[in-house]
C-alpha cells in the first residue's frame, strides 16, 4: 500500500468517524425517539452505551430516522 | 394451577434456568464446579503460553544513567563515533566483553525513539566530538542512544588522543543468509527485536534512519553482524525495506571497516528464503 493510498484511507475513515460521532450525539438525544419510542425515558448510561455503535452505523440510523420522520 | 397431577418423570427433569430467577440448587452446584475448572484451565493455558516464549537473547539497554564518550565523529554511511577501546569501559559486563584485538571501538549513534541523525552532522565529520547518551549492547557490539538535548553531540574544543582511523579492507563478493534488523531494537531496545512480529517496527526504525544490520549465523551458530549500506557506500536503498524482518539471502560486497563488517547491498540482490 502506497503512502498516498494509506493517507486517503485514514482521512476517509477519520471523516466518517468524526461525522458519526457528531451524528451519534444528536441521535441518542433526538432521533432515537423517532425510531424507537421505548427509548423515551431511558437513562443517560443507556444513551452512552449506544454512542459507539451509532458513530459507526450512522448511515443506517440516519436513513431510518429520515424514513420514520416522513411518516404521518 | 395445573389440572394435571405431576408425573413422576417431572421430578427428575433437568433444572430449568431463568436468568432473573434464583438459580436452581443442582445447577448452582454444577456452576460452582464448572467455573473453578474453567479458571484453572485459563491459568494452565497462560502458563503454557508464557513458557513457550523464546529467549530473546542477551542484550542490555543501559537506560538508567547517561554517559559521556569522547571520540571522532563519522557521518557516513551512518552516524558513528570512533572511540579508544579503553574509554569509559569500566561498566561493561564480562559477558559482553568483545573478543577483538581492534585498537578502537565504533559506536553507532542513534536518537531517542525510531530516529537517527540530527542537524549539522556533516559539519562534524572527522572531527573530535563529545557524545552523551545511553548505551545498548549485544554480543559485544555497542551503540549510543544520544540524549535529546542539542548539546548531546558537540564538537570538542580540547584535543583528545585521536584513535586510529579504521581502514577499509575489501573482502570480495559474498552470499549470506539471515535477517535484516534495525540495529537499535536488536541491540537491546526491544526484546525480541527480530522476527515477523517485529517486522513493522524494524521497517519504521530503518525508515527513520536507524542503521540496518544483517544478522547471520556462523558455523558455530554464533551471531555475526553486517552493517548494510548501498553499493555507493551511502545508507541502504529503500527498495530493501520490504525484506526487513524476513528470512533472506543476500549477495553483496563485503568490506571490513575496522571491526565492523560492512556489506554493500543492492535491493535486487535480496531474496526471501
Amino acid at each position: 500500500m502506497s503512502d498516498s493510498i494509506a493517507s486517503a484511507i485514514l482521512l476517509t475513515l477519520a471523516a466518517y468517524i468524526a461525522a458519526g460521532v457528531c451524528f451519534a450525539f444528536g441521535f441518542v438525544f433526538r432521533g432515537i425517539y423517532t425510531i424507537d419510542p421505548a427509548a423515551l425515558h431511558a437513562p443517560l448510561t443507556f444513551r452512552a452505551v449506544l454512542i459507539p455503535g451509532a458513530a459507526v452505523l450512522w448511515p443506517v440510523l440516519l436513513r431510518r430516522w429520515m424514513l420514520a420522520g416522513k411518516k404521518p | 394451577m395445573s389440572a394435571l397431577p405431576p408425573r413422576p418423570s417431572a421430578l427428575s427433569e433437568p433444572p430449568f434456568y431463568v436468568g432473573y430467577l434464583p438459580v436452581p440448587k443442582p445447577l448452582a452446584a454444577f456452576l460452582w464446579l464448572a467455573v473453578p475448572i474453567a479458571l484453572s484451565i485459563l491459568a494452565i493455558v497462560a502458563i503454557a503460553t508464557a513458557r513457550s516464549q523464546r529467549d530473546p537473547g542477551g542484550a542490555v539497554w543501559n537506560d538508567a544513567k547517561a554517559r559521556e564518550f569522547h571520540g571522532i565523529f563519522i557521518a557516513r554511511p551512518y552516524p558513528m563515533l570512533l572511540v579508544r577501546p579503553t574509554e569509559g569501559d569500566t561498566s561493561k559486563p564480562d559477558s559482553l566483553k568483545r573478543d577483538t584485538t581492534s585498537s578502537s571501538e565504533l559506536f553507532l549513534l542513534v536518537e531517542m525513539g525510531k530516529h537517527a541523525g540530527r542537524d549539522g552532522l556533516s559539519a562534524m565529520d572527522g572531527k573530535p566530538v563529545v557524545a552523551s547518551g545511553w548505551t545498548l549492547e549485544r554480543d559485544g557490539r555497542r551503540m549510543i542512544e544520544l540524549e535529546p538535548d542539542a548539546k548531546a553531540l558537540a564538537l570538542q574544543e580540547t584535543s583528545i588522543s585521536v584513535p586510529p582511523t579504521p581502514v577499509i579492507v575489501p573482502r570480495g563478493r559474498v552470499t549470506l543468509q539471515g535477517e535484516i534488523v534495525d540495529s537499535k531494537c536488536y541491540l537491546g531496545a526491544m526484546k525480541p527485536g527480530e522476527g515477523k512480529t517485529h517486522k513493522a517496527c524494524a521497517t519504521l526504525c530503518i525508515r527513520g534512519g536507524i542503521p540496518p544490520v544483517l544478522v547471520t549465523r556462523d558455523e558455530n551458530e554464533a551471531r555475526v553482524y553486517y552493517l548494510l549500506v548501498d553499493p555507493s557506500g551511502g545508507p541502504l536503498d529503500s527498495g530493501a525495506w520490504p525484506f526487513i524482518g524476513d528470512p533472506v539471502e543476500v549477495t553483496g560486497d563485503f568490506e571490513l571497516l575496522g571491526e565492523f563488517r560492512v556489506l554493500k547491498l543492492s535491493p535486487r540482490d535480496i531474496s526471501r528464503r
Binding site: 503512502d3 494509506a6 485514514l10 424507537d36 421505548a38 427509548a39 437513562p43 448510561t45 443507556f46 452505551v49 449506544l50 455503535g53 459507526v56 | 395445573s2 389440572a3 394435571l4 405431576p6 408425573r7 417431572a10 430449568f16 434456568y17 431463568v18 436468568g19 432473573y20 430467577l21 456452576l31 464448572a34 467455573v35 474453567a38 479458571l39 485459563l42 491459568a43 493455558v45 497462560a46 502458563i47 503454557a48 508464557a50 513458557r51 513457550s52 516464549q53 523464546r54 529467549d55 530473546p56 542490555v60 525513539g113 525510531k114 530516529h115 526491544m190 526484546k191 522476527g195 515477523k196 517485529h198 513493522a200 517496527c201 519504521l204 525508515r207 520490504p242 524482518g245 524476513d246 526471501r272
Partner: protein
Amino acid sequence: MSTGYVAVQWSRHKRLYDASVAIGIAIYLGAFVGVSKAFWAGEHGISDEVILIRALGSCAIVLLHIILCIGPLARLDPRFIPILYNRRHLGVITFLVALAHATVAVGYYHGFGVLNPFRSLLTSNTNFSSLRAFPFEILGLLALLIMFLMAATSHDFWLKNLSASTWKRLHMLVYFAYGLLIGHVALGALQADRGSIGPALMFSGLCIVSGLHIAAGLKEYRKDRGAGTLVVDAGEWVDVGAPDEIPTDRARTVCAPKGERIAVFRSAGSISAVTNICAHQGGPIGEGKVIDGCITCPWHGWQYRPQDGCSPPPFKEKIATYQVRIVGGRVQVNARPLPPGTPTTPALASGGLS
C-alpha cells in the same frame, strides 16, 4: 424484553458472571506476566511491552474460544445455559482485551517513529502476495473491527432496531473474525516464534471449537429426524404424539415438512403450539418451560402466552402460533404458521389421558 431501556439490566447472576470473567482475566494476565518475568530475567528479559502485548493478545484469543464453545455446549448440555445467558458481556470484555492488545502493539511497534502509527500500520508491510512475509497485522485489525461492531451493537436496542435477522447475521461474523485471528496468530506470533507449543495450543483450540459445533449439529439433526414428522391430511397437519407424551409444562418439538420447527407445549390441561424460534435471539423455545402460565425461553427468559404467542403486558413481543387439534387420541399441529400473536384455540389434553 423491551419496555424501557437501561444500559445493563443488572441481576445478581450477571454480577457474579462478570466478576468470574474479571477474575479469570486477572488470573490469566497475572500468570502470563509472572511466568514471563520469572523465566526471562536480566539480560535475557523480554521487554515489558512485549510481555503485555502477548499476554493480552493470547488472553483475548482464549476468551474468544470460550465464547465460541458456549453455544454448542449449551445445546449439548442444558446445564451450560447459565453461561450462555450473559455471553454478550463476555463478548464485550473480550473486545476490550483485544483492543488493549492492539493499542499497546500499535503504540509500541508503530509509534515513536517518523510516521503516524496508523500510517505505519498500513504501509510498513505490503507483502500481500507472500505467506512468509504477509502483513498479519491487517488480519488482526479486521477481526478487531468485527469484534467492535459486535460489542457496539450488543445492546437489545440494536437487536430490535437493526432487525433480529440482520443482528444475527452481524453477530455470526464472529466465525469470520475467528478465522482472521487464526491467520493473525499463525502468520504473526507463531511464525516469529517457531516453537511447537503455540501451534499445538492453537490447533487444539480449533479442534475443540469445531468438534463441539459438529457434535451439537449432529444432536440437533438427530432430534429433528427423531421428532415425529408423520404428515397427515394432505401435508397440512403433522403428528405430534399422544397428549401425555408431552411432559407437563414442557414442549415436544416437531419438524414441519418445510423444515421449520414447531414447539408444542402442554400446560394446565391444554395443548398449544408456537414457533421454536424466540423473537429475542432465536433461542430454542421448545426447550423452554411454562412458568407462571407463560412459555419461557431457555436462553434469556423471554416469555410468551401459549394461547396467542404474545409476551405478557407491558411487553410487546410476538411470535408465530400454530393451530392444534386432537384426532383419535393423537395431537396434531397445522404446519402453516399463523401471523405472530394470532390467538388460537388450545386443544384440551384431558381427552388424551386415561
